[in-house]
Amino acid sequence: MVENVIEMKKAHRLLARMDYELGKVQKGYTNRTLYINLCDNTIKSKPVTQQMKDIFIGGRGFGLWYLWNAVTSETKWNDPENEIIISTGPIGGITQYPGAGKSLVVSLSPITGTVIDSNVGGYFGPLLKFSGWDALEIQGKAEKDVIIYIDGNNGYVTIEEAPEEAVDSHLAAEQFTAMYADSEEDKRNVAVVSAGRGAENTLIGLLNFSFFDLKRGVPRLKQAGRGGIGTVFRDKKIKALVVKYTGVKGDTNGPADKEKIINAGLRLHREIHDLDKVQNRMREVGTAHLTEIMNDYDLLPVMNFQYGSHPDAIKLSSDVFKKYFTQGLPDGCWYGCSMACAKAVDNFELKTGPYKGQKVCVDAAEYETIAGLGANCGIFDPEYVIEANFYCDTYGIDSISTGTLMAFVMECYERGIINKEITGGLELKFGNKEAAMELIHQMGNGYGFGRIAGQGVRRMKKIFVEEYGADPGLVNDIGMEVKGLECSQYVSKESLAQQGGYALANKGPQHDEAWLIFMDMVNKQIPTFEDKAQALYYFPMFRTWFGLNGLCKLPWNDIEPADNGLTDEPAKVPEHVRNYVDIFNGVTGKNITKEELILQSERVYNFQRIFNLKMGYGTRKYDIPPYRFMGPVTKEEYESRAERYDKQLKELGYDIEGKTVEEKIKMLREYREDQYQKLCDAVYRRKGWTPDGVPTLETVKKLGIDFPDVVELISKYQ
């Protein structure tokens, strides 16, 4: 490996270099952004203004602001003007509180056509900041494959042509880590961002962010998965971003009041130590514990979200994966994360594809991947899930979108919408893991039916209708995407609030804005439209805040204080909200309250909504999901929950005596679609938006985001 990388490095050709004064992080900020344009190889430093910090805070907020200024409403994802912005946020990089090393990535998405944000672990964001940069803003396109290298100790940045290193991430991360580390011990100080060949060949490319795992002796990969940012990355001909910074300590983030942070961190470390083993077992199995819970509550997507459970789901349960995960290692994706959910399978021998026969360390498997690639495709084989997870990651394709699009393809195949001729011989029936694996390789390598599948559900719907004569009503009802983004892996049919949680989300149906199914469906805590609207106001705002600050959502409510159930609002986990207020104030020296925390998010959230509007979306019609998000599309779906649906119709006063299933589906649909519209009305009112879902002038003024171009844009919609 070492000799190899020496040769590879010799083949680099320097295109540009900038030397810079090393910065110092003060109260969570370095007050500078590193701007790079790959068209003309510009490298320059830009100031981070007080206004940016006051209004956009950092992370996703900074990304949205830079991108807003970089693109017009006409800009497409593959135009050179499009940017990739990476920023962690003021809290990002503290070592004392679990889940505080996230990077937020923002770009125009190839699959949605509008702005996308993705939250990812690994060391890049914090090491970038400690190297002197609050954000990295990359514009332009290179002619040949390049890397950007940031040396945060010696103070220089280079753009280099890099022809020889691998594109696939498990190799790229290993090669660049070895290339830039001075020694084995030094590898932990190098972080790599890379994509993979699949990011070139699909529209659902992802970015892998590495962190060096000292115990396993390999770089591990965490994914900025959603929305195809990896595809933008490869379109810009970026092979890798590499940062090196040696010297992370407990005060490198320059906190104003470190004691506040330490105290909050110790409270949480102790909770995790005492309670994780009896709550979610994140330290043992990560998010894999969710599979059996979702199956038990009929929420696990099975066979393209038709059903919510399956007798074979037990084969994908956490106890099964536990046997594959290496146990007892500190699996945090940034220093200080005692939740340690980043599980891995070591020495996994691959059975297929270009790396067949090799033994690899797989960052696998998280709930979304297990549910999406497994249950949703009717495949209940853990080794298939691990292998598919490996290839999705190293090819650089999003495993959530892959799961959902594969499930859609399989249902279309089973219903005769597509056939073997169209799939090039692949028998894509539910449960056919060989065909599914082959399709992943086709997507990764850009051939066969993989070239169609890799374009995502929305484009496939169009192709199936226009080229293969599919019934547009049916494919639109069963293709699980909103705004062009494939749905993440929860069945929302029986929870109106979660239908809103998915379909109203700014970037598309990802559950990072709101996950309200238990509050709504199981615990029945939000019965009225106003209750649901309040939940769909509070939780998206609260959860947006993690992305402004470089934080992970999981330590908020995947561990709860022992007495959380006795608080006024257990769903908010009030003690942890207090921790977040404390660590924000501890870092920045400000004195915000929990209400101001929400206000910080509200500014950015509304700005992102308006950004969608700028790109030609962002109104009510883009918030309406396919019917399968809301209820049963097909006879089989209705029948699988006939008792529930019959009961609901009777309670609503429908006369169902002697009615056929088709008639009952129609009645239920009429009711549920109307309910969803009423939900939108209530949520828009609560958020201060017009009935068409556009923030009002009053709202943007109140929030202080009434910039002239914002006012001009939304004025047309008032």
């Binding site: 070592t95 004392q96 932990r188 000292l214 115990k215 992370v248 300590k249 407990g250 005060d251 009041d257 470190k258 004691e259 330490i262 961190g265 110790l266 949480l268 470390h269 102790r270 995790i272 130590h273 007892g328 290692l329 500190p330 945090g332 220093y335 200080g336 994360c337 005692s338």
Partner: protein, 130 residues
């Protein structure tokens, strides 16, 4: 190896141990920078609890940076060069015997030097085989 052992019932709360410890570790006389802590029991005035590391080593595997290690003499030590000050070890210590101070990036931890036992006037702490 010999570690600090305790007989809390003999402790008079004078705090000499804490002063001695901080002097050895950080060259200051500051109980808040000591790796041994004396705490008066809330329910019983004049009675004390003593918190000090027993070098059980449970902190070693929880460390992300391999900064916790067992030294040749058996003592569990912190390698300051590797430590990033996350304090998971402090939060996960089964005996609450590791400490923090905002001026010090690393956890404050007993090195089994015995300095505290040498200044204890009552014999409440003493060195003995682990």
């Amino acid at each position: 190896m010999k570690i600090v052992k305790t007989k809390p019932e003999l402790c008079n709360g004078c705090g000499a141990c804490m002063t001695a410890c901080s002097k050895v570790l950080y060259r200051v006389e500051d109980p808040k920078k000591s790796a041994i802590r004396i705490k008066e029991k809330a329910e019983k005035s004049g009675s004390y609890e003593i918190f000090v590391c027993n070098h059980c080593g449970e902190c070693i595997p929880v460390c992300n940076t391999e900064a916790m290690y067992q030294a040749k003499n058996g003592a569990v030590r912190v390698d300051d060069k590797k430590c990033v000050g996350c304090y998971i070890c402090v939060g996960f210590c089964p005996n609450n015997a590791m400490f923090t101070h905002p001026d010090i990036n690393e956890p404050i931890k007993c090195i089994a030097c015995g300095a505290c036992t040498r200044v204890c006037p009552t014999g409440a702490i003493y060195m003995d085989e682990k």
